[in-house]
Symmetry: C2
Amino acid sequence: MSHPVPGSTPRTRIRRLPDHAVEDRAALHAVLDAGLVGHLAITGEDGQPFVLPVAYARDGERVLIHGSTGSRLLRGLAAGAPTCLTVTLLDGLVLARSAFESSMHYRSAMVLGSCAVLPDAEKVAALDLLTDRLLPGRRDDLRPHSAKELAATLVLALSLDEASVKISSGPPDDDEADLDAPIWAGTVPITEHFGTPMPAPDLRFDLPAPDYLRTWTR
Amino acid sequence: MSHPVPGSTPRTRIRRLPDHAVEDRAALHAVLDAGLVGHLAITGEDGQPFVLPVAYARDGERVLIHGSTGSRLLRGLAAGAPTCLTVTLLDGLVLARSAFESSMHYRSAMVLGSCAVLPDAEKVAALDLLTDRLLPGRRDDLRPHSAKELAATLVLALSLDEASVKISSGPPDDDEADLDAPIWAGTVPITEHFGTPMPAPDLRFDLPAPDYLRTWTR
């Protein structure tokens, strides 16, 4: 079932498989917080969309994105181009008794809007939040950002005002007529894992991998 | 280094971090074949892009996408709207000595163009190829597609004529001045795994999970 919810608009209302639409902000936040990379779009000439992967971090009711001041994508977004950020987590394969009902388990969030450029005074806090979200525990190890690095970095904020979430889970939903076929049906979960940290070859100190890496789980 | 390659155009030429651009069709095919879900865009009114996750399968020098004839995305693409399909595989986190040089390992393919609608005569073969790619071994277990299912399904083909690949791998690339800092640096791999198959609760036969599931690895 699909209902208007905070943050839903006619543009984000889920029309296909509306029973997969999820109706609360907590679910939106959870999907965004579970992802590391989203897909961000900008439309070029002649309505040609371009979709690029970006690291991002949720900051309350907005998402922060950063990148080079030299990036065409970021410069276009900084100029106010409408965008869409979609974050998808693939959770499994659904093996129904027919190809038609076979599908995937996923959690996907879509955010529409235009980005605001963060003023210089807010840049350091935003970059630190990105580090805290993407590499938790790492920030205390790092030196401060240099003025040159800050000048070379654009930080954009995309409000979650207009957003939707779609979650597909559960067993296959086969036609009643197919249930008598002697075919195995079910789901195959997909999970993501962090592997063993690999030290940089130019490490000049005999340092163990930091403890906070052990807290990183997926 | 970035060079013009077959399939590269001014629109797909990689401008940011061009040393990450990969110059051969085999790499493009490999990235597309390693993914299960891509992000497909369409531009709506006022230049607003929409990005949706889609299952896809490479078929030679094109990518096949299928979905409901009721899908606005697919109907728009069937009408010839320009699109972009981006497939990204996240391979790890790069922990440099500075936040600025910290990044991610990834493989990402971007395909630009417009989709062709597959004629009815080619639909069954295309859907079978999608099943073979996404659920290898499964097809022989499944009953034939019904006429109703075929009528409800649109299959689109997106040519790989205009495409690019970007791959980020290797150790952190820190500033020389940062190498003396007593900070651990390195990479943390990210891998995706299939878990234990879960039988559907409405399974009417005491069937084991099929052998071909054991060949599914990531």
